[in-house]
C-alpha cells in the first residue's frame, strides 16, 4: 500500500512537471495564443468564441495551467478549432491505430527476441548466434524510416496481401483484415525492438547460465528446455521488461513514421501536425495522455518485477 501511494505521488509530480513544461513551450512558440488556438487565419467571430471559451489565455502561465488541469480532470480535453473537432473525438478516432501499432510492435519484437535471445545464449558463438548478432547490429543501426521504405516498396507493392495504404480495422471486426493492415506498420518498429531485446536477453542469459543454480539444475538432470525457460529466463527477464517499458515512449516517435508511410491516422501524425499548427490544446492533451500511459506502464512493470522475482516481492513485503 505504501509502495502504491509512493508511485501515485511520483506520477503526479511527473505529470505536472511534464505537462507544465510542454504548455510553457507551446506558449513560447506562439506570437498570438488566441489566434493559434483559433486555427490561424480566422475571422473575428472565431477569435471572440475562443476568448469566450478560454478567458484565461492572457493570465500568468501558472493560472492557465490550473484551468487546463481542472478541465482535464473533469474530462474536458479541449477543442481543435483548426480541425473543428473535440480532442476526445480526436482520440477516439486516432488512438486505436497508434495503440495497435505499439501493441503489435512490442508483440512482434518479443516474439522474435525471446526465442532468439535464449537460443543465442544457449548456443553461444554458434551459427545461429553469429547470424543473430550480425543481424541485430544491422537492425539496431537501421532507422525505422528505412524499414518503412523497404517494407513499402519491396513487400507491400510486390505482395498483394498487404496494403500500401492501411486502414484501421478493429481485430474484433475482422481479425484477418486487421492483421493485413497492421502487420507491416508494426513490423517497421518491431524489427528494431527485436534487435535490441535479442541483445539484452542474450547477454543476461549468458550470465545466468553460468550461475550455480543452473549448474545444479543440469546436475539434477533437468531438460535444457526446462532449464532455459523455467529457470534461466525468469532470472534474466528483468532487464528485458525494463527495456520494454523504456521503449514505450519512443514508440510514439516510431509510430509517426509507421503512420505516415502506411497511411494510418494515429496520434503520432496528429501530434506532429498539432506542433506544426501550434494547436495548443491538442499538444497538451496528447502529452498528458502519453505521460499517463508511460507512467502506468512503468508501474505495471514494477509490479511485474515482484511477480517475476520473489526476492523483490519479499523485500517489498519487509519494507
Amino acid at each position: 500500500m505504501r509502495y502504491l501511494l509512493q508511485r501515485i505521488g511520483q506520477f503526479i509530480i511527473v505529470f505536472v512537471v511534464v505537462t507544465f513544461v510542454v504548455m510553457c513551450a507551446t506558449r513560447i512558440g506562439s506570437k498570438d495564443v488566441v489566434r493559434d488556438l483559433a486555427g490561424g487565419t480566422v475571422g473575428d467571430e472565431v477569435i471572440a468564441k475562443v476568448e469566450a471559451d478560454y478567458p484565461y489565455l492572457d493570465k500568468p502561465l501558472v493560472i492557465q495551467y490550473g484551468y487546463w488541469l481542472k478541465d482535464m480532470v473533469t474530462g474536458n480535453m479541449g477543442y481543435s478549432y483548426a480541425q473543428s473537432q473535440s480532442v476526445i473525438d480526436m482520440f477516439q478516432q486516432r488512438l486505436p491505430s497508434t495503440f495497435f501499432i505499439g501493441f503489435w510492435s512490442i508483440f512482434l519484437g518479443l516474439l522474435i527476441a525471446v526465442p532468439l535471445g535464449i537460443y543465442s545464449a544457449y548456443r553461444r558463438d554458434g551459427p545461429v548466434d553469429r547470424v543473430a548478432s550480425y543481424s541485430s547490429f544491422a537492425f539496431i543501426s537501421t532507422p525505422p524510416l528505412v524499414f518503412a521504405v523497404f517494407l513499402l516498396y519491396f513487400v507491400a507493392l510486390k505482395i498483394d496481401t498487404f496494403p500500401v495504404l492501411s486502414n484501421y480495422i478493429a481485430p474484433w471486426d475482422s481479425p484477418v483484415e486487421h492483421f493485413k493492415n497492421f502487420f507491416l506498420p508494426s513490423l517497421t518498429l518491431g524489427l528494431g525492438l527485436a534487435a535490441v531485446w535479442t541483445r539484452f536477453l542474450r547477454a543476461d542469459m549468458i550470465l545466468t547460465l553460468q550461475s550455480d543454480f543452473i549448474m545444479l539444475a543440469r546436475a539434477k538432470g533437468m531438460s535444457p528446455r526446462r532449464i532455459l525457460y523455467r529457470h534461466a529466463l525468469r532470472s534474466s527477464i528483468l532487464s528485458l521488461i525494463t527495456s520494454v517499458a523504456l521503449q514505450l515512449s519512443g514508440l510514439v516517435g516510431g509510430a509517426v513514421i509507421a503512420e505516415q508511410f502506411f497511411g494510418l491516422a494515429g496520434i503520432g501524425t496528429r501530434l506532429v501536425f498539432a506542433v506544426q499548427q501550434n494547436d495548443i490544446l491538442v499538444i497538451q492533451a496528447i502529452t498528458a495522455v502519453l505521460v499517463v500511459v508511460v507512467v502506468f506502464v512503468n508501474l505495471v512493470v514494477d509490479l511485474l518485477y515482484a511477480v517475476v522475482d520473489p526476492r523483490i516481492r519479499h523485500a517489498r513485503a519487509l519494507g
Binding site: G39, G40, T41, V42, G43, D44, V46, K49, Y79, S80, Y81, A82, Q83, S84, Q85, S86, M90, Q93, R94, L152, Y153, A156, L157, D160, P163, V164, L165, Q260, F261, G263, A265, T269, R270, F273, Q276, Q277, N278
Partner: protein, 535 residues
C-alpha cells in the same frame, strides 16, 4: 455503374467545411466540389456558364448583376435552394477573413460603409436586393462604396470559386449555434457527406436526387461513393496508386510525374496551363528589397533552367513572370532580365558598399523539395555576395507569416497565381490590399506600385476583351521590369489514375452546352461528378 473511388491528395484543409471559412487548396477544392455546387462553372472555351445560377445578366456598364437561381433544387437536408439561401452564403463569404479581401470592389451597405469611416468594411453586408424568390441583384462599388460603381465584366467568374460554393442555410445556422457541426457539410452537390476524420479520410455518398443529368438524361453521379485520403508524401501516394489502394490522385511532384508519365497502366491528365507559378516572394517594404537594383540582382543570380535540371530532373518550364502558359497576360518574352551572375554580383557589391552587408532570411515549407530549392538559392545568392539564412516552417504558418507581414519575412519560397484572368490576381497585388505589417493583407509582398495598380484596374474594368488582355500583358511586363517577384518555374499538376477510372474532365454543364473545365483555373483537382469505373 456504381462503385467506389478512392482519391488521394496531399494536404488536409483547415477550418472544414463551411465555404466561407475553409482555407482551400486544390485537394480541398476537389473534396468540396463533391458535396457543393458552384453558382457558375467555366466551360471549355473559358466562358462562364451558370450552374446553380440559371442566368447572370449584367447591366449596361457591368456594375450591377442580376442573378436568377435554378428552381426545384434542394440541399441534402431538404432545404430549398433559392435566392435567400444564395444571398446568405454570399454575405457570409464576403464577411469571411480571406474571401472578403478578394471582393474589395463589391458595394457594401451604405450606412455600414459610412459608419466604418474609412476603416474596414468587412463586417458590412453586400448590396444585394432580392427581386423574387429566385432572383437577386448584386452591385459593385470601388472599395465597397456604392456611390462609386465599378465596371467589372469578369465579376461572374468569382461565382465559380470558393465564394460561389453554396451550402444549406439551415445547416449554416446550426453551425452558428454549434461549431462542432462545421465538418458535416450540407450542399446540393452530386455526393452527400457521410463521414470525416481530419487528416485521414472523408467519405461522401451518392446523392440519389442530384439535379444534373448526363447528355443522355441519365442521373448523375455514376459512382456510389468517394473516399478521399490525405497522404502528404507524394511518393507514398504514388505507391498506393500502384498498389491499387488508390484509384486516382493529384500530384505536383515532378519526380512522380516523370516516373509515371509513360506508364500505360496509369494515365495522367496533365494540368500545365493556367497553373501556379513557383517563385520567391519578396517582402517589398524591407529597405533592401524596396531597392529595385537588389531585387533584380537577386533575380539575375538565379539560373532557372539549372534549378529545374538539378532539383526536378529537368521536368519543368522556367517561368519569366507571374502568369503561366494559357493565362491572360502570359508572354513568351516579357522583358524579364536574363541570368547574369556577374551583373548581379556587381549590383550587390555596389549596394553593400553604400549600405553594408546584405543578409536575407529565406523561409520555406518543410517539404523536401522546398528545402532543396532553398539550399540552391542560398548557394547562388551567396556567390553574388548575399548571406542567406534558411528557415523551414509548416505551410499554414508560413502563409500566416506572409499574411501578417511577420518581421522575419524577407523572402519566401512560394507558389501561387493559378487562374484564368489577371483580374483574379487583383487582391494579391493591388496597393489597396497592401496593409502595413501586423495587419492581415493578401498582398503578401506589400506591393505598392502605381503602374501595377493601373494595369490591374484596367484588367478588371476594361471595356473590351482586347483592353483587358492588353492590360494583363502590361502587368506582366511591369512585373518583369520591377523584379517584384523572382519567378523560377511553372507548376505542372498531374491527375494520375488507374485505367478503370473513366469520365474525369467530363462534368456536364446543366444546359447541355458542353463540359465544365476541371479546376476552373485552379489546377490540381478534378471533378468527379461524371466519373465512373469500368469493369
Amino acid at each position: 455503374m456504381g462503385g467506389k473511388l478512392v482519391v488521394g491528395g496531399e494536404a488536409e484543409v483547415a477550418n472544414p467545411w463551411t465555404p466561407a471559412a475553409i482555407q482551400c487548396d486544390s485537394f480541398c477544392q476537389m473534396r468540396a466540389r463533391s458535396f457543393y455546387d458552384p453558382l457558375v462553372v467555366v466551360d471549355e472555351n473559358l466562358d462562364y456558364q451558370p450552374y446553380l445560377a440559371e442566368t447572370i445578366e449584367p447591366n449596361a456598364d457591368n456594375t450591377v448583376f442580376t442573378v436568377t437561381i435554378r428552381q426545384g433544387i434542394k440541399f441534402h437536408d431538404g432545404t430549398d435552394l433559392d435566392a435567400a439561401a444564395v444571398m446568405d452564403n454570399l454575405n457570409r463569404g464576403a464577411k469571411g477573413l480571406l474571401i472578403s479581401a478578394a471582393l474589395v470592389d463589391l458595394a457594401r451597405d451604405p450606412a455600414c460603409f459610412a459608419a466604418a469611416a474609412g476603416g474596414s468594411v468587412v463586417g458590412c453586408d453586400l448590396v444585394m436586393e432580392q427581386i423574387d424568390d429566385f432572383t437577386f441583384t448584386i452591385a459593385t462599388g470601388k472599395a465597397g462604396d456604392l456611390s462609386k460603381p465599378l465596371p467589372w465584366p469578369g465579376f461572374p467568374y468569382y461565382f465559380g470559386g470558393q465564394w460561389g460554393l453554396i451550402a444549406s442555410p439551415t445547416w449554416l445556422a446550426e453551425v452558428d449555434a454549434d461549431s462542432t457541426k462545421a465538418p458535416n457539410a450540407v450542399g446540393t452537390g452530386p455526393f452527400m457527406f457521410d463521414s470525416y476524420a481530419p487528416g485521414d479520410k472523408l467519405v461522401v455518398k451518392k446523392n440519389p436526387n442530384y439535379w444534373v443529368k448526363d447528355a443522355a438524361g441519365n442521373a448523375l453521379p455514376y459512382l456510389d461513393e468517394l473516399e478521399f485520403r490525405v497522404i502528404p508524401d507524394s511518393q507514398v501516394r504514388a505507391a498506393a496508386l500502384e498498389a491499387g489502394d488508390l484509384d486516382i490522385m493529384a500530384t505536383s511532384d515532378a519526380g512522380v510525374l516523370l516516373d509515371l508519365k509513360d506508364n500505360p497502366d496509369f494515365p495522367t491528365l496533365l494540368q500545365n496551363q493556367y497553373g501556379e507559378t513557383n517563385y520567391i516572394l519578396l517582402h517589398l517594404t524591407k529597405p533592401y528589397l524596396a531597392d529595385q537594383s537588389v531585387r533584380c540582382a537577386l533575380l539575375q543570380a538565379l539560373d532557372k533552367q539549372d534549378i529545374i535540371d538539378v532539383i526536378d530532373g529537368g521536368n519543368g518550364v522556367p517561368a519569366n513572370g507571374p502568369f503561366s502558359p494559357g493565362q491572360q497576360g502570359f508572354l513568351e518574352d516579357n522583358g524579364s532580365l536574363p541570368y547574369d551572375p556577374e551583373a548581379a554580383a556587381a549590383a550587390i557589391e555596389a549596394w553593400e558598399a553604400a549600405n553594408g552587408p546584405l543578409t536575407v532570411n529565406y523561409s520555406t515549407t518543410t517539404a523536401a523539395r522546398s528545402l532543396q530549392v532553398a539550399q540552391y538559392v542560398q548557394d547562388v545568392w551567396g556567390q553574388v555576395g548575399v548571406d542567406v539564412t534558411i528557415t523551414q516552417i509548416e505551410q499554414s504558418k508560413l502563409i500566416n507569416n506572409a499574411l501578417f507581414g511577420d518581421p522575419a519575412f524577407d523572402a519566401f519560397g512560394w507558389r501561387n497565381h493559378a487562374g484564368l484572368f489577371a483580374d483574379q490576381q487583383y487582391y494579391w497585388w493591388h496597393s489597396s490590399a497592401a496593409l502595413p505589417d501586423g495587419a492581415l493583407a493578401l498582398n503578401f509582398g506589400r506591393l505598392n506600385d502605381p503602374q501595377i495598380d493601373q494595369f490591374l484596374e484596367e484588367a478588371r474594368s476594361g471595356a473590351t476583351k482586347e483592353d483587358r488582355d492588353a492590360a494583363a500583358e502590361n502587368l506582366n511586363r511591369r512585373f518583369a521590369e520591377g523584379c517584384f517577384i523572382i519567378p523560377t518555374s511553372y507548376t505542372t499538376w498531374g491527375i494520375v489514375h488507374n485505367t478503370s477510372v473513366q469520365g474525369i474532365g467530363q462534368t456536364p454543364t446543366p444546359d447541355g452546352t458542353g463540359n465544365a473545365r476541371d479546376g476552373a483555373g485552379f489546377p490540381g483537382q478534378v471533378w468527379l461528378t461524371a466519373a465512373f469505373k469500368s469493369a
